[in-house]
Amino acid sequence: MLGYRQLPKTTGNEAGRPMTHNEMRPLLSVRHLTKRFGKGCSFCRQPENLPPLNNRCPRCGTVWACNDLSFDLYEGEILGIVGESGSGKSSLVQCLYFDTSVTGGTATLSNYQDGETNIFLESPQQKRYIRNHLMGMVYQNPWTGLKMNFSSGGNIAEKLIAAGHFNVHHIQKRAADLLDHVEIPLSRMNEAPRNFSGGMQQRVQISKALANRPPILLLDEVTTGLDLSVQARVLDLIRRIQHESRTAMIVVSHDLGVIRMLCDRTMVMKQGRCIEAGLTDQILEDPHHAYTQLLVHSLL
């Protein structure tokens, strides 16, 4: 692996404060995650056989969307994943949120069965439990993450109901709090998000993902397609959430500006592989891999 640096441990807490045992231990630990589209053959199962600039096997046509990815996510930190389209960023978070199945690899959560179970091998019921209680996901396209013909409050309620809340009054109060938090006027709580602007839809999606106070939030290209001022508000919101609730986040973006603003640590992906990882500042100031250098230099 070229230019692969040891991932330093950062927890995003104030400098000088001693780390507790809990903070030292990663919240999410992913090892050798592999996602392949296609059957694969004896040739491409050896990763070194794949051509360097391609993740498609020249013999059988299998696409290796994620190839042997390993990383840790600590409590309260924001991990950035950057790379061009087709590099496997979205496949990675979709695997983590169980939207698609993985081909191989393990992931453990320190707050799920004491971090001893590979969550990819759990039953669909257990996976649903993890999705509803331990994770939140914000998709690039709000139409994927929201039910557009239900009210905004109802969308948040769905997540709360899934986690076993059956009191209308409490659900409504929590939904109102969350929408207020993301600056959506309460007068529009009972309106369907299809009537909202793109930025508002994205904020409804964020509040839905936060409904159960998940320790991990996955954000897949949340600002793509929004205009600059709206982008800034969404980014502010994400920072505020991280500051207030110490939610650990994985931010997927092709935009280095977003990564620079949000992330403590960053992983650079290309062709399904992690080519460089480290502190965001380090990567932006002193990129090792030629592709990262290209990315940083193309940053306006």
Partner: protein, 286 residues
Amino acid sequence: MQAKLKQTYNYAFLDEGSKKEIRRATLKAVAIPGYQVPFASREMPIGRGWGTGGLQLTLSLIGDHDCLKVIDQGNDDSVNAISIKKLVQSCTQVKITTDSERATLIQTRHRIPEVPIRADQILVFQVPLPEPLRMVEAKERKTKQLHAEMDYSGIWLRLYEDIVKWGKVSIGADYPALAHKRYIFAPSPIPRYDLPKLHQADGLFLFGAGREKKIYAIPPHTDVEPLAFEDYPFEVEHFDGCSCRRCGSTDTFLDELYDETSGEKFYQCSDTGNCQKRQEMRQADL
């Protein structure tokens, strides 16, 4: 030279193989309360959607010692109830009754008789739409998966949106309920008034959907809980201050009717068999 055609049917219309298949599906349904068991719905001499599911269950269960009652929305005398009774009788010669307490087998559309079902009685429902999740998920493959994983947030969300919009759940008949803390099932379009009768009952309830090819059951002494939020409890229909104009009862499910000539509103028992008995008792008292 025209030979006279004479068709002879097997006892209870269906051939023995078909009856066996339906009974096997029924046994599985009884073993898993609320679970919809697929079965090979047969072509019947009435149209699909006119009670073929219930009729197949009835025909697969009926024997010489049975006494049959057929009701259509509580009514013994509707065209469909009469036709089904005639069909069953013409191929079995079983006794027919309108008295739910004398019947061993009751086929019903959209009502449960007022007198509770006993342990030696079976109530067969005609079901138009067996899938309670259909209103939130159109694909059969998906709803099967949702049931398997007990992922019921979709239908709960539907109830939540109702409460937010209208202040109450707007589902009248066919109110979804949870069978023995596992499967959500559609009780067929019975009024909410009848739903509590399924909970921890003595008798066996069988549901047959001919068009949708599904059989399911609520066995005796099974928990049946209508879906309801903690702060919006399940409510049944009330008939406060109303009474049946025929038997005078105030504790039965009443139909609201209008007099054709005067346009006057009046109420009448939906369960005609029970109403008849009460009228006779009232006569005897006088």
